[in-house]
Amino acid sequence: MQSYLSIEKIGMSFERAGARSEVLREVTLHIERGEFVSVIGHSGCGKSTLLNIVAGLLTSTTGEVFLDGEVVDSPGPERAVVFQNHSLLPWLTAYENIRLGVDKVFRRTKTAAERHEWTEHNLDLVQMTQAANKRPAEISGGMKQRVGIARALAMEPKVLLLDEPFGALDALTRAHLQDSVMDIHAKLGNTVLMITHDVDEAILLSDRIVMMNSGPAATIGEVLEVPLPRPRRRLDLAAHPDYIRCRAAVMEFLYARHRRGSGLHAA
């Protein structure tokens, strides 16, 4: 049985100076359409490698990724990535950065006027209309990441891949962006795979949290369902018993059983 996004027994090894290092081993994960799934783990556990394999930017050593019944073998706009460091092209304005992808994806299916409208619509979705004609150097880190999210959304991806999208932002900006992502997910119902190392972020946004063991040869340790009802409000959650239970479970996994460097047999 296949899910919308199926990650089947992915293994990844790198060969460096003759030394073979195994990063991922037999990672299997099924994500349904419209689901928001977070992958959490210590830095260096291979979670970004996993996302890059799903994006097609890296080719796994073993295993396959299927999206909507098709094998993933190269990068493409149906698996748009929001990169950790925004990766906007500095010589283009916010509008042009988004339009570049829009023009590429909808060249045959939309007229120029429609593509313009669609670009504006996506700028509006991340509340960046006022900065449409600014270059990345002229806007703040949070705004850049908003444009990065709009660029990915504008390609109408089947699955949106977020690679620690808020990691480089301050706490307040991060909270604003998390709320925006929640709103957009509620509105559009995208399928999202997010890499994070922030426990609260994972619980706030996700339907399921995938916890990864620390490498080398990282595997999926546990998968936690987050039963909190949507729409979720940051303030209401803090005292919610399910929230506290989830938080305790993830913290327990990350810090009690799988401290970085303690390997697989720490428990």
Binding site: L57, P75, P77, V81, S87, G101, M155
Partner: protein, 300 residues
């Protein structure tokens, strides 16, 4: 002990009176804003313009003193002014043949440089992108480039004269071969330094080869290309003067050589000053175009 005691004891009203008095006595008349602006201009002149002017005056005085002695081989500035007055005040005269004002000689040299440099820019950027993108091309071409780029510009002249059998294309070729190396090398470094992030963005968007070149490679490489162009234009200007000395005809290089043959040392000095000024202008012009085009291409 006595100080704080006196402060504490000082009666308030007295201090107020003293302050009032001080204000009344020292309040300066309000300066009009034009005066403030004049002051700013004057301080700018004192800070920026005065130092080079003083230095220049010093150099001229030393030169005058040194070259006014009996037995001096070079003319002092006063003699340069007297001997080459016509050349200095009228760069536009044209009496046919080689007897033209400096403007015409410089123009002829600039035309050669423009042509050779333009060819070098096109070929250099093309080759730079090629060896920047293809490791195979880099391995194949790099050894050849490393050897060729160390050949002094003038060493190419006899060979190009043999090939073209005409002085003008030979001079242009010398400019071309001089300017191309820094352009090739800087462009290829720029292409190799395109951040992995931009490549990933292009891959996710599935940009085609041409789209990638136009939308990513060129804009990301522009600052590097202009570094190469700036070095290239400087080298071109160095080479053209030397090349023209050998090929003859109208041009600032041959003008200098001709002046030497006619023992017009003052003319040489005037020409050198012009060569220097034009060189600075060329450098600044390329830098200005680079700044204009590469606006916003830096990261962050």
């Amino acid at each position: 002990m006595s100080m704080p005691a006196r402060n504490l004891l000082a009666p308030e009203p007295a201090a107020t009176v003293a302050n009032d008095l001080a204000i009344v006595l020292t309040l300066p008349p309000r300066r009009p804003p034009q005066f403030e602006r004049l002051r700013a201009v004057l301080s700018m002149i004192a800070g920026r313009i005065l130092p080079p002017v003083i230095m220049l005056a010093f150099v001229f005085i030393v030169w005058e003193l040194l070259c006014s002695q009996p037995g001096a081989t070079l003319p002092p500035p006063s003699k340069v002014l007297a001997n080459s007055w016509e050349l200095i005040v009228d760069p536009f005269y044209d009496r046919g043949g080689l007897d033209k004002g400096l403007f015409w000689h410089l123009l002829a040299s600039l035309q050669r440089v423009a042509l050779g440099f333009a060819l070098a820019a096109v070929a250099g950027i093309g080759l730079g992108v090629l060896i920047g993108q293809s490791t195979w091309a880099l391995r194949a071409l790099d050894p050849i480039f490393q050897v060729l780029r160390t050949v002094p510009p003038l060493a190419w002249l006899p060979l190009s004269l043999a090939a073209f059998r005409d002085s003008n294309p030979s001079a242009i070729f010398v400019i071309f071969i001089t300017a191309i190396w820094p352009i090739v090398i800087n462009t290829s470094v720029g292409v190799r330094n395109i951040p992995e992030d931009y490549k990933n963005v292009a891959r996710v968007m599935r940009l085609s080869g041409i789209e990638y070149f136009v939308k990513i490679t060129l804009p990301a490489t522009v600052p590097y290309i202009f570094t190469g162009l700036k070095i290239g234009i400087g080298l071109s200007w160095l080479a053209i003067v030397a090349a023209e000395m050998l090929i003859g005809g109208v041009g600032i290089g041959f003008f200098i050589w001709d002046a030497w043959n006619s023992s017009l040392i003052a003319d040489i000095i005037v020409a050198l000053i012009y060569v220097g000024l034009v060189g600075v202008l060329l450098d600044r012009a390329v830098a200005a175009v680079g700044t204009l085009i590469s606006r916003g291409t830096s990261a962050n």
